[in-house]
Amino acid sequence: MKASMTRLIDLRLGLFLAALFAVTVLAPLATTLSSSSPFNLPSYLIPLMGKYLCYALLAVALDLCWGYAGILSLGHGAFFALGGYAMGMHLMREIGARGVYANPELPDFMVFLSYDHLPWFWWGFGNFGFAAVMALAVPGLLAFVFGWFAFRSRVSGVYLSIITQALTFALLLAFFRNEMGFGGNNGLTDFRDVLGFSLSAPSTRIALFVLTAICLAACILIARAITISKAGKVLVAVRDAESRTRFLGYRVESYSVFVFTISAMMAGLAGALYVPQVGIINPSEFAPANSIEIVVWVALGGRGTLVGAAIGALVVVALKSWLTATFPDLWLFALGGLFILVTLALPNGLLGLLDRFRRAKPAPKEVPA
């Protein structure tokens, strides 16, 4: 009778977490080896790996709402960017009087644009804790309000995808404007330290990388806990037969808003971890193509698998780094080609492919009555 109990950590997730753990321990160790050692890892690669893990976290966030609840958001890049801006604002404030204009109160770009005081929406961002909360709260609140209106009006499917894409595009245009007070075109950059630790110090980089790995592990576990709960089953039910779910008495819009909000907060967290490791956040993070790229990661890895989404992100981003370095003009074609390939040949993604190999010898599924 226990067959229905799904374990929180199944084989797939266990392997993934073990691999993540190993990398998190070994990579920092490898940076301490002498540079003549074949296992030496140059320390500049640590933030790069941290960045990859942020993308993996972003993919997990999208998979939670797309793979399980069928909400194909084409605006998750916006939640990521908002989380990034929240953290970026703190890092700007932490520069203090060390900026070019040596203004203790105002970031350089504000001095340059002749602001005479800090805009109200920058208040509080001098405090790290406040910024960290905002990195989750702002994307979460936006998703909640947006989702509440959209799902209550029963907007779904393609229409929902289109308005999420419009959302990120609108934010892109807004953040480009200097008058918005977020650094316009240039965004926020030239960060120095976080909580008093220099961002260029190897130890800070390692700490940020390890923190990212921990957040990724925690979020994938939270997402997994949600999806195996009864609420997770309701989400899949909504995806499969929305009206049936309603007639059972479930208020579909509450479930959709819930998962959309949680997912947006995870995306915001990914953005907040990304910015100190990359050193810049600018409006291009809101670009519609970014959000579409996330969908490709999840589709390639295998949607509705969480682990697959994370792996998909790592694979595509690695491919992108390599292609943009060697054949810079090819990347967008490769992305498009990949999308077509996945849709036509790999409907269940890379993990689906693995499952197909594993199922080569079929297990008896029926149980004797």
């Binding site: 009864k230 609420a231 089953k233 039910a237 499969d240 208020r251 479930y255 599924k365 149980v367 004797p368």
Partner: protein
């Protein structure tokens, strides 16, 4: 005796076409009622109106004579204890058969209640009982997508029973079933009635006869005749619009 479900003067048009036209219907608590009528008579639309899926243009739809159902959405109506089986069997295809039943069991429906829900022994016993009752125990761990049409009908009936509704609206349950299964379904619905109210729409006259209950004939969105099957099937107007064809 007051009606549990009471419709009066209900009207609904689609693009000027009156799918439901001044419909009046009254069903008592515990009653078993069959609704018949030609294709397009408005049988499914009537169920849509009762369950909050479609808003009527006018008229009254009352639950226990005091709750106006036309103001409520589907989830609210369901939570009042009105369950529904669709004309086209609709189950959660990527869930196992037993998970379909589990999701239907009577329980708090809120997000957080579901998130922290732990399956109890009583619930598991109930799932086992229902699986037996709908004869799908041997397919318990199978994905619902792999069921035959008739099995999906049974599963959806099981999901309906799992909700423990006070009123069951059952739209064409026998479609896709063998003769034997059809008769079993009739027996099942008869056994449920009494404790619960059951309204069944069906075209299969052997099935309706087996139900042995009061019959309402719908035609062009309103009631044409009502009474025993023998009475309505003897009426010339019913024969002309429906049975005679």
């Amino acid at each position: 005796m007051t009606a549990q479900l009471y419709l009066d003067g209900v009207t609904r048009s689609f693009d000027g076409f009156k799918a439901i036209n001044n419909l009046a219907l009254s069903v008592d608590k515990g009653e078993l009622r069959a609704v018949i009528g030609p294709n397009g008579a408005g049988k499914t639309t009537m169920m849509d109106i009762i369950t909050g899926k479609t808003r009527p243009d006018g008229g009254e739809v009352l639950w226990n004579m005091d709750t106006d159902l036309t103001r409520l959405d589907e989830a609210r109506v369901a939570r009042l204890g009105i369950g529904r089986k669709f004309q086209k069997p609709t189950v959660f295809e990527t869930h196992t058969v037993e998970d379909n039943i589990r999701l239907s069991l009577k329980a708090p429906r809120g997000v957080f209640a579901s998130l922290f829900h732990r399956s109890t022994k009583a619930e598991e016993t109930r799932v086992t009982e229902l699986m037996d009752q709908i004869r799908l125990t041997h397919l318990r761990f199978e994905d619902a997508a792999n069921l035959s049409h008739g099995q999906k009908q049974w599963l959806e009936i099981g999901m309906l029973l799992a909700q423990e509704p006070q009123l069951l609206l059952v739209d064409e349950p026998a479609a896709g079933m063998t003769d034997a299964e059809t008769m079993e379904t009739a027996e099942l619905l008869k056994s449920i009635a009494g404790e619960r109210t059951v309204i069944v729409v069906e075209h299969d006259m052997d099935f309706v006869r087996a139900l042995d209950c009061r019959v309402t004939v719908l035609h062009q969105g309103s009631v044409l005749a009502e009474g025993s099957l023998d009475y309505v099937s003897g009426r010339d107007d019913v024969i002309e619009v429906y049975l005679g064809r």
